[in-house]
Symmetry: none
Subunit: 197 residues, 4 copies
DNA sequence: AGGTAATCGAGACGGTACGTCTTGTCTTAAT
DNA sequence: ATTAAGACAAGACGTACCGTCTCGATTACCT
């Protein structure tokens, strides 16, 4: 009889606490030295692990970092405040805090750059991004049920209208992402996706 | 004898054709191997140039790439078709072509990643981005003069509402950027920034 | 109840066929890839054995190789042809065959190199070498009894005079070790160790 | 106009002082940690040199060590004391000192082991060995001119009769190489290669 | 018969050296 | 002073091997 995984394992099984140690070391080092400054040797040393143990689990630095991010993700709660506008503000305003902008979100361009050369990484990156979008989709669908959103509006594009400008500012234009900006953005998007005139 | 720049020059003057050769080699290689795969040695070899010659002119790979991008830019003409909607479509629809998406635009995440560690590069990146935004700003201001845009609307945010979602899709979510999407996007943004109800 | 060895044994006894398989795999691989190219992983894989099983029996690669050599040794018969000269030729001429020179004898320098760092290995190496010298000692002693050898001659040095030049040629000088050379060598040594003038 | 080497050199020439520094560091480390304990990283660090600089000049550790030995060789003076016996003692007795046996000579087995896998190294090793044999050859030829050596005696084999037993003892049999032994050895070899009875 | 304990194949583990690669600087002779 | 060529120091990369360890399964001995 077999377990559900269908995976017959011989030999010494991988030590799950090692995965944990590596991911923690990676996350810590990312904060300290950034993506480019991160070396696999440093991760191995910090985690008290051999380099081979890292390369046995991940193909390279990018996959490792992506996993470190994924593992440390705080699945944001889906806000439910009663109105589309306040739900969206509840979701997006925390992004204006310095902490949020200094954290994991900073690493996205490096991953996107690498993803251009590595379809596997690109796939994982898309999954990661998609994961973060789910709460917003839920908020919008709920609003649509209440009649606050144009029935014809594509949810994906609606999310892009919110997240896109914020990321664009953070990464490329350097314009500030502050509460006032987010509020204006949300107001404009609420108008854009509301029921047709 | 001195030139007007007040710059005292001794010895052999720099060969301007060398700058050109380096930038062309850089641009070619970027297309072939991407940003991460680009090495300064390869650029030097391709350009038939010593590495010192490159480092005498640029501070590093990132600045070089940024200049290669800037040099090869097609300063897009500011469209003037009579309406905000058709002006914006004239500007953004070309981005849906495969060529455009495979080209220089692909390199932005790598530059953004590096810019996080290098304020000088960040400054140059912002300038580059700002440069590309000017035509859209002009289109929007013209529309505002015609009464098509809310007088209170912040132009910068308006541009972010258009460019942000497109870049976000290209780099992170992997969703397609096709003519239908761009058209829907433009329609929604036109509604969002139109004169208040 | 105890066996005569005074060794109290509990648990599953060691499988003797496993020793054999490991030694055979080692000997085969030595011929194929040489001492430096030999890895314990490869021995384990070839023998169909876990690495721990090897390390349970030997302290390391060198001991293993030395045992593989010892196990595969063809204890050369002590020649007895009636004269010192023909006895010595009977013993040393086989060494001029390509097979002999390509085989185990080739591995001696690697073991000697390692022995310089490992007194235990050095001891085993000396025992191995001494083992091979015994037949020659017997030949010489027999000759001495017949009056063919100087009573004052040290047997050990006599053997060194024969084996030393041959090994030196094989390992270091690269000079050929052919039948003519061996014959001349034996003739000279017979003269050197013969009864004093 | 070209120099005699016929080698047209462009680019920065190799820095000869770097070769020196690397060889000195190698020689020092060999004494401290032995051949097996020697790492290329350690040589680079000690020499204040990048690893690539080492690999640009040598193919690996063995070639480097061999060059370090060759460079540091003290071309032993050819003794000329008037008799074959005393010339040979003048040459070989110094080998009985602990210093001599602990030094470069200790590394020969490791090199010989590697030479079995690398024809280029084997060639260099033979040249090194041959170089050390020259003085003895000269001593023997001079003795032959004086009538102390059998005109038919092959000089190479004569040298093997002296050096072979000494090396064999040092590397394999572990028997001592002390002044008394060397004296006996020389006496016996002098008898072996003297003019025919 | 059941318990105990060392064995087995498999392979993960920490550590460490390898040889390659890239970066940005420096050195040469020639222009 | 600049150029092309390429050597240089520094240090990260990903691979390989060593000798140890852990796992589940086996195989004897000893109650």
């Amino acid at each position: 009889m077999d377990d559900g995984s269908g995976q017959r394992r011989v030999g010494r099984p991988r030590d799950a606490s090692v995965d944990e140690a590596i991911l923690v070391a990676t996350a810590d080092l990312l904060v300290e030295v950034g993506f480019t400054g991160l070396t696999v040797d440093a991760v191995a040393a910090r985690a008290g692990v051999g380099k081979a143990t890292i390369y046995r689990r991940w193909e390279g630095k990018e996959q490792l970092v992506l996993d470190a991010l994924t593992a440390s993700r705080l699945h944001p709660e889906v806000p439910d405040t009663g109105s589309l506008r306040s739900d969206l503000l509840a979701y997006y305003l925390p992004l204006t805090e310095a902490d949020a902008q200094a954290g994991a979100i900073r690493l996205m361009p490096a991953l996107a750059a690498q993803a251009a050369l590595d379809e596997d990484l690109a796939e994982r990156l898309r999954a990661f991004v998609s994961d973060r979008r789910t709460p917003v989709a839920e908020v919008i669908e709920r609003a649509r049920a209440r009649g606050e959103v144009d029935p014809a509006m594509d949810v994906e594009l609606a999310i892009d209208l919110l997240t896109g400008p914020i990321m664009y500012r953070l990464y490329f234009s350097g314009s500030p992402v502050d509460p006032a900006t987010v509020e204006t953005l949300v107001d404009r998007v609420v108008r854009a996706i509301g029921p047709g005139a």
